[in-house]
């Protein structure tokens, strides 16, 4: 149901905790369809971990699992990430 979906902005805290920089304004390019956009506007789902999906094609861009002492990030769905200075 669409109601479950948030946007990347809701993951701002987790992302900044892991990457140590503001991530919601970073521009990601989807490896599946090539669409590009700010991380803040991608689709966010909460499963056992966080899943960020492309708003154009719904492919998985990023998976994040945190344990308190470790974090795992799967970035395979992103062709590239542009971080702004």
């Amino acid at each position: 149901m669409g109601a479950l979906m948030l946007d990347g902005n809701a993951a701002a805290g987790v992302l900044q905790e892991i990457f140590a920089v503001e991530m919601t304004t970073a521009v990601g390019t989807c490896d599946s369809c090539g669409a590009a956009g700010e991380v803040g506007r991608v689709q966010l789902y909460r499963g056992a971990g966080l899943i960020l999906r492309c708003p154009s094609c719904e492919a998985v861009l990023m998976k994040i699992v945190t344990s308190g002492t470790r974090a795992w990030v799967d970035l395979r769905g992103l062709r590239t990430l542009q971080l702004n200075a």
């Binding site: 499963g47 056992a48 971990g49 999906r53 719904e58 998985v60 470790r70 795992w72």
Partner: protein
């Protein structure tokens, strides 16, 4: 720095007999909906369940064929790795033993695959011997899409991420191939009683 306690905060939890609650879990009466992606809506006339991989031939059931198989009603406790547990949940489904009956395989593992692309891996041993079902009803009602309907895998003795929603089949394999979450931090096996949440636990 240990987290500070917020006076008077308890959350919405239930007491339960300790022998029913695995370590680190809290019992809830809710049924939280967690999802890795949008809810699929495969029409039943296009739905099928297949057993594939290390088998002599592909085995396939349509929805009608699945529902024609003998099914069981089971009441089980379920434990999510995000720390909530729900006790005495009532399901109806076809035992995986029924589906595997007569199928010869040398495989020791299986990967459950689903609409939407989710996968999870388990030893075949954990899917057989009355431990797993393809569940199509919850609480006497057809399983709702947001909870995995029309059918989900139900493997209550492992963390609930293994009970794959929107399951469409099992691929039997010689190796234990990490699935969607197992390849990104979650434990390959996932026994809640040994608190096997993450890699290396």
């Amino acid at each position: 720095m240990p987290p500070i306690i917020s006076r008077g905060f308890t959350g919405r939890r239930r007491d339960a007999p300790p022998d029913r609650v695995p370590p680190g879990q809290y019992v809830t009466d809710d049924f939280p909906v967690l999802s890795a992606g949008p809810t699929p809506h495969t029409p039943l006339d296009q739905w099928d369940f297949t057993i594939t991989g290390e088998v002599d031939a592909l085995h396939r059931w349509s929805w009608e064929e699945l529902r024609a198989l003998p099914s069981e009603s089971v009441t089980v406790d379920i434990h999510c790795v995000t720390k909530w547990s729900k006790l005495d949940t009532a399901w109806e489904g076809v035992s995986v033993d029924t589906l595997l009956e007569g199928i010869e395989t040398s495989a020791e593992y299986a990967v459950a695959f689903c609409d939407g692309g989710y996968t999870t891996n388990l030893p075949l041993e954990d899917l057989t011997g009355g431990k797993a079902w393809i569940a199509f009803a919850f609480d006497d009602e057809p399983l709702e899409p947001e909870h995995g309907g029309p059918a989900r895998l139900l493997v209550p003795h492992l963390y609930f991420w293994k009970s794959a929603k929107w399951v469409r089949g099992l691929r039997l394999a010689a190796n234990n191939e990490p699935g969607f979450w197992e390849s990104n931090g979650y434990h390959l096996y996932g026994d809640p009683w040994q608190e096997q949440r993450y890699w290396g636990d």
